[in-house]
């Protein structure tokens, strides 16, 4: 059983939705950046470089 929605939640719906979208975009961007970084030709894992950069 859900509790009745608090008035504050209604009032801040737009703000919360906006923040949620921003966070989702941020996650997608970091994921995309990770994929690109590991796909670059000069990418080496720590095991390949002996732990050095």
């Amino acid at each position: 059983m859900f509790r009745e929605e608090h008035e504050l939640h209604k009032r801040r719906w737009g703000r919360n939705l906006g923040l949620g979208i921003v966070l989702a975009i941020f996650v997608a961007l970091v994921f995309g950046l990770t994929v690109v970084k590991v796909s670059l030709e000069d990418f080496r894992t720590p095991a390949e470089t002996g732990g050095e950069q």
């Binding site: 703000r15 923040l19 961007l29 950046l33 690109v36």
Partner: protein, 312 residues
């Protein structure tokens, strides 16, 4: 965050998502995005498109964060001036504490993410830009010297340099000259506006050249900076980011800009008021086109390069 259930007074003007976006000064951001992208694309080192996009986004958010910190510190004078009275803090929509928190958080995030995505030279330059705009300009010099526009212009001039550093990992003659282009352009652009728009900076206690040294002095300063600007703008034409297209654009625009500055110097207040500040207004309009076309021409040279047409 303000909790309206605890503080009923806050419910009237409670912040919407758009108010937090307004803290980031989106219009200033568009100039930052454009010039940073040009700096990045004009660099001789290719960057993966996604990393380039991500880096420009970080630079834009860093610029926005400095805007939020500026609004946090300047809330007292923003409330006094008509142009800025509707900003989120003086309008009572966002609390100063929230603006400070957003500004600091986004500053940290944008710099660290830029360092991880591109390199730490670019991240360091972005951090310095935010520091320069917030501490050197906003907190220190804005309320102290009538040369505040010159100092503030420096902060707005860094993005192409950061974009260049994203690609090359360093600073070079080309990136310094691109910095100087916006730096030298800001004073004549702003002082021309100050000549024909009635502002209330003096009411807010912010020294403006037109008020502290008089409008005659502002006219002289416009010409002085325009001469220095022309030297920088044409000089870029002979570097690796320049070329025939850029040089042609620069020569024409700077000749027009110099003529406009001389016209402004030759006029007095009576002549300006008689024709509704016609010369000052057309100089200001030209200044908008001036910066856009210079960076556009640098971009055109970079775009033509793969076909062997751009550059010298």
């Amino acid at each position: 965050m303000t909790d309206a259930s605890i503080n009923p007074q806050a419910s009237e003007g409670e912040a919407r998502f758009g108010d937090f976006v307004a803290l980031l000064k989106p219009r200033v951001m568009s100039l930052v995005v454009f010039t940073a992208a040009v700096g990045l694309l004009a660099a001789p080192v290719p960057v993966h498109p996604f990393i380039a996009f991500f880096a420009v986004l970080c630079i834009a958010i860093g610029g926005g964060a400095s805007g939020a910190l500026n609004m946090w510190y300047d809330a007292d004078i923003d409330a006094v001036m008509k142009r800025t009275a509707k900003r989120p803090i003086p309008a009572g929509k966002v609390t100063p504490g929230d603006a400070l928190a957003i500004g600091l958080t986004l500053s940290g995030f944008s710099c660290v993410m830029l360092g991880l995505a591109a390199n730490w030279v670019a991240a360091g330059l972005l951090a310095f830009t935010i520091f320069f705009y917030v501490v050197i300009y906003t907190m220190w010099l804005k309320r102290w010297t009538p040369q505040n526009i010159v100092i503030g212009g420096a902060a707005g001039a860094f993005p192409p340099m950061i974009g260049w550093a994203v690609a090359t990992g360093g600073v070079s003659v080309e990136s310094v000259l691109m910095f100087l282009l916006t730096f030298m352009w800001t004073p004549p652009h702003f002082w021309a506006l100050a000549l024909f728009v009635k502002s209330d900076y003096d009411k807010a206690g912010v020294p403006m050249l037109t008020v502290t040294h008089g409008r005659r002095s502002a006219r002289r300063h416009i010409l002085g900076y325009t001469i220095l600007l022309a030297a920088v703008a044409v000089g870029i034409g002979f570097t690796s980011v320049g070329g025939p297209v850029y040089l042609a654009v620069a020569v024409v625009l700077n000749a027009l800009f110099l003529k406009g500055a001389v016209d402004i110097l030759r006029r007095d207040e009576a002549a300006s008021e008689a024709d509704g500040y016609k010369s000052e207004k057309s100089f200001f309009k030209l200044s908008l086109l001036y910066l856009f076309l210079h960076f556009g021409a640098i971009l055109a040279e970079a775009a033509l390069r793969p076909w062997g047409l751009g550059g010298w």
